[in-house]
């Protein structure tokens, strides 16, 4: 499993097995923060950063846990690492861009419960990726998450001007759009010889 090339891992995480549209990870922020393109982009970048940091920490932690023979603590230690990484990002954003901090609002601390972040840590362990592969995987997945968020935000900005029936103004319509996007992303499945 672990002999995949770095380029393939990146493309795989970005397009073929896009975290949001093909693996259903990180749906909450995908539905919640995708109303405006600016916020979507910022959210994507923040999440990518958290993904990268926590993926690197998780790699080190896993090595340590295996060495000590206490793998059953893996999940608990991963989630603690992620929570700390989120806290770090929160402090950085608050210091350098208070406006962005307000725009992201509740969704920033909620990155902790973004399944995509924990998903990366869990999948890279399951796939036995080495350090470089894990790094590329997390950045690719983050880019894929940002891409999906941006696409969705673009669609929803257009949709806000359209005349849709009153019944379909809520989450139903957003999910329908997500389904169409996901359908489009299925086209990438052929890229890597049928996914993984």
């Amino acid at each position: 499993m672990a002999n995949e090339s770095l380029g393939f891992i990146f493309l795989n995480a970005l397009l073929i097995n896009n975290f949001v549209l093909a693996m259903f990870l990180g749906i909450c922020p995908f539905l919640g923060v995708s109303a405006k393109k600016d916020t979507a982009l910022n959210m994507g970048i923040a999440t990518t950063f958290v993904m990268f940091v926590s993926s690197m920490c998780a790699f080190g932690l896993n090595w340590l846990l295996v060495k000590l023979g206490i793998e059953f603590l893996r999940l608990i230690s991963y989630i603690v690492v992620i929570a700390s990484a989120v806290q770090l990002v929160e402090m950085i954003i608050k210091k350098y861009s208070p406006a962005l901090f307000r725009a992201l609002g509740i969704y920033l601390p909620l990155i902790t419960t973004n399944c995509a972040v924990l998903g990366i840590a869990v999948f890279q362990t399951a796939k036995n990726y080495d350090l470089a592969q894990s790094a590329v995987y997390s950045v690719g997945a983050g880019a894929g998450f940002t891409l999906a968020l941006m696409l969705m935000a673009g669609l929803r900005e257009k949709l806000a001007l359209a005349d849709v029936p009153s019944v379909a103004r809520g989450a139903g319509m957003t999910l329908m759009l997500a389904g169409l996007l996901s359908l489009a992303f299925m086209g990438f499945a052929g890229l890597g010889g049928g996914g993984d």
Binding site: L21, A22, M23, F24, L25, G26, I27, C28, L31, F72, L73, L75, I76, I79, V80, A83, P109, L110, T112, T113, N114, C115, V117, L118, G119, V122, F123, A126, S166, V167, A168, G170, A171, G172, M173, L175, M176, A178, G179, L180, S182, L183, M186
Partner: protein
């Protein structure tokens, strides 16, 4: 356990609202990731629902017991660690009970940790209410979640494979809509359910308005 003020009395509503009025999936739109990811068959949907319900009940009861001990500043971290412990238990338990289910659900068992329903309930309910109330409310919410998952799982399995709980129910001539088993199908089926619920709500409101109008005009 003493009932202090601010804590709500134990009523039927404590239980029922998690199932229906505040259904975690259809109304509050929480816990979307497992909802979409593992509902490609009814069996998977039920296993996921039960696993989540177990974690929900255990962790929230514990949160409720410890609500006066956990300092306010670190409560979220404390909740997460509690939840993660129970998820680890479930993870190993499912692996021991049925390897088949374990492989079908894959990483999503471990991802129960980040299911927002559980953390949401802990923060909004268990941290303020008595143990009994919390247990009842968690069971209600868990059942609501399992039912919602089942709603999706049944539709997707019947249309996508022509089977229900792996038993063939549609005639052989039926051409399965493979799309329903793919990720896109999950989005479409959930969208369909949400649209249906919205439609019913809108119709109910309109009817209530009409009735009001009718009494005002004395008809």
């Amino acid at each position: 356990m003493s009932l202090v003020n601010k804590e709500e009395p134990l009523t039927l509503d404590t239980f029922v609202r998690g199932v229906w009025r505040e259904n975690p999936v259809f109304v509050t739109l929480l816990g979307m990731c497992p909802t979409l990811a593992v509902t490609n068959s009814a069996t998977n949907a039920i296993s996921m629902g039960l696993a989540t319900t177990f974690v929900l009940i255990c962790s929230n009861v514990l949160v409720s017991m410890l609500r006066k001990v956990i300092p306010k500043e670190v409560r979220i971290a404390a909740y997460i660690v509690l939840i993660a412990s129970f998820v680890t238990v479930v993870d190993y338990a499912i692996q021991a009970i049925s390897l088949e289910v374990y492989e079908a659900l894959g990483a999503f068992i471990q991802l129960i940790v980040v299911n927002c329903i559980i953390l949401g309930r802990a923060e909004a309910y268990a941290s303020r209410q008595t143990v009994v109330n919390t247990a009842v409310n968690s069971i209600g919410t868990g059942i609501g979640f399992t039912l919602a998952l089942l709603c999706l799982g049944v539709v997707r399995e019947v249309l996508g494979a022509g089977t229900l709980f792996s038993v063939r129910i549609l005639p052989d001539q039926f051409q399965p809509w493979v799309l329903m088993l793919l990720p896109a199908g999950g989005f479409f089926v959930l969208a369909g359910w949400l649209l249906l619920i919205d439609f019913m709500n809108v119709r109910k409101e309109r009817r209530a308005l009409e009735q009001q109008g009718a009494t005002v005009h004395g008809q």
